[in-house]
């Protein structure tokens, strides 16, 4: 079997953060596999090459064309190399998914200045730098689709303070809206997916340590209590929304967001 669908047939997609901190469905891994299922060629990027092993294995199960590349996407020079290598390998870039990011806990007093700077760099500047290097290529090609993975933390308090993360993710959303308007007439669409409290490997590997002293079940219970739907989604739900936005089905959708949170942000009770 080559792939199961053709919604992205023949398109080249760069997906950053395509690895995962543990086994299972993180957002980046799920997107790489889902996009490949729909016929896209995937240029999979992560700082940690080994974290992409499972991503590659799952995508290659159905014969996907996927190329891993190691890169620190907070580094403009490194991104230049990334884009050059993607073009050398696949000749073009149709889709860019900016998926790198992660929260550091803390409000204004607890968070150190260094942590603040690092949060802005990894969650927001990565989006700016990737767009800076990829958008000229899309403009020359007459179009492209960019999907930024933001978070419901960018629009509200979601149970644990992380002001640097929240501010940066709000920045990602607004960056997307404003750049989308500027480039709409050039055929480049930019949108964001806002995942809510998904059960991804990040929860088990990192968040439980930060928020409930390593008690994963306690954290999952707290998170589920905020979610109207009676289950927690995972990276595959993010991937389906990103796929819709990346595809030509969304050709009139730009400068907006899809919230994938089981209804969490529709309530404040």
């Amino acid at each position: 079997m080559q792939h199961t669908g053709n919604r992205l047939a023949g398109k080249v997609a760069i997906i950053t953060g395509a690895g995962c901190v543990g086994p299972g469905w993180g957002n980046g891994r799920a997107m790489a596999v889902r996009f490949a299922q729909e016929g896209a060629k995937i240029f999979a990027v992560d700082k940690d090459m080994a974290s992409m092993d499972e991503t590659l294995a799952r995508a290659r199960e159905f014969g996907a064309d996927i190329t891993p590349y190691s890169c620190d996407v907070t580094d403009s020079n490194a991104i230049e190399g990334l884009v050059r290598e993607c073009l050398r390998h696949y000749q073009t870039i149709d889709i860019l998914v900016n998926n790198v990011g992660g929260p550091t806990p803390g409000g204004p007093i607890k968070l150190t200045e260094e942590q603040w700077d690092a949060q802005i760099d990894i969650n927001l500047k990565t989006v700016f730098l990737m767009c800076k290097h990829v958008m000229p290529i899309m403009e020359k090609n007459g179009g492209g689709s960019i999907v930024n993975i933001a978070s419901t933390s960018g629009i509200r308090f979601t149970g644990a303070p992380a002001v640097g993360y929240a501010a940066a993710k709000a920045g990602v959303i607004q960056f997307g809206r404003v750049a989308a308007v500027e480039y709409a007439s050039k055929g480049i669409r930019i949108n964001s997916v806002l995942p809510g409290q998904l059960h991804t490997p990040l929860v088990d590997a990192i968040l439980a340590k930060n928020q409930t002293g390593g008690d994963i079940d306690a954290l999952l219970k707290k998170r589920q209590a905020r979610i109207p739907l009676p289950f927690m989604g995972d990276g595959r739900d993010t991937a389906n929304a990103a796929l819709f936005l990346a595809s030509d089905e969304a050709r009139f959708v730009t400068g907006t967001e899809i919230i994938v949170d089981g209804g969490m942000s529709a309530r404040c009770d």
Partner: protein, 264 residues
């Protein structure tokens, strides 16, 4: 996974007057293409019949009837007829709506009441009859069709339409939280300026019939430089109706070419 095989979709306002593709017709036909059996209604039976013919010509299954979904009696009959024909309702599309011009001073009270009825009470009545069926099934997806006019001023006085569409979004969002534990998802698609057959009627109402001028103005209002088409709305509806959106509820997808992200 965008397949809807074995599912039944009820689509209100499924017809388009004359040729061309309005939102309801495109939605009904796209859901049918993905495998859903479609039950549709429209005030205009001939328009609904035409949608049915298109679906059947493509090998799909559909039935239609005339109904005024601002009337609870009609809504009851519609839902009964759908259940009798297909036995279940997995997808409900609240697509009925209409804009009338006016601000609080110039709009007659009767027009205001009528605008509330057609733009939001219609969805309330449909939910009233369909949600118990979805609850019993343990699953269902409702998609309401709103408008960017429900989010902000978009260039013409239509205060009742704007208020009604905003109300429709909030009706859908809050009902989504209440029905989430029962496995029913409710979301809204928010179209911007679309180039549908309706534009002719809007040009008559808002631009003294200057169709060419009205169309050119609407194209340039959109950052993309052109209006969207009914298929763009239908694609978003399909995504939200499908199991691919199983974790999405109480939300909106704006399909507007960027217009609501800018004040230029």
């Amino acid at each position: 996974m965008l397949r809807l095989d074995g599912k039944v979709a009820l689509v209100t306002g499924c017809g388009t007057k004359g040729d061309g593709w309005g939102n309801g017709k495109a939605i009904a036909v796209l859901l049918a293409r993905q495998g859903a059996k479609v039950f549709g209604c429209d005030l205009d039976l001939e328009a609904a019949e035409q949608t049915k013919r298109v679906i059947e010509q493509e090998g799909g299954e559909a039935d239609v009837m005339t109904a005024n979904v601002t009337q609870s009696r009609d809504v009851k009959l519609l839902v009964e007829a759908c259940m009798k024909r297909f036995g279940r309702i997995d997808i409900l599309i609240n697509n009925v709506g209409r804009s009338e011009p006016g601000d609080p001073v110039t709009m007659a009270e009767e027009t205001w009441d009528d605008q509330m009825d057609v733009n939001v009470k219609s969805a309330y009545l449909m939910m009233k009859e369909v949600l118990p069926i979805m609850e019993k099934q343990g699953s269902g997806a409702v998609v309401s069709i709103s408008s960017v006019a429900g989010l902000m001023y978009i260039g013409k006085p239509q205060v009742a339409y704007a208020a009604g569409k905003a109300a429709l979004m909030q009706l859908t969002k809050t009902t989504a939280v209440i029905y989430a534990p029962k496995g029913v998802r409710l979301n809204t698609v928010v179209p911007g300026l679309m180039f549908t057959p309706l534009v002719q009627r809007l040009a008559d109402k808002y631009a003294k019939g200057d169709f060419e001028g009205f169309v050119a103005h609407r194209h340039q209002q959109v950052p993309m430089g052109h209006m969207g088409e009914a298929w763009d709305v239908a694609n978003a509806v399909l995504f939200l109706s499908s199991d691919e959106a199983k974790y999405i509820t109480g939300q909106e997808i704006v399909v507007d070419g960027g217009i609501t992200s800018a004040t230029r």
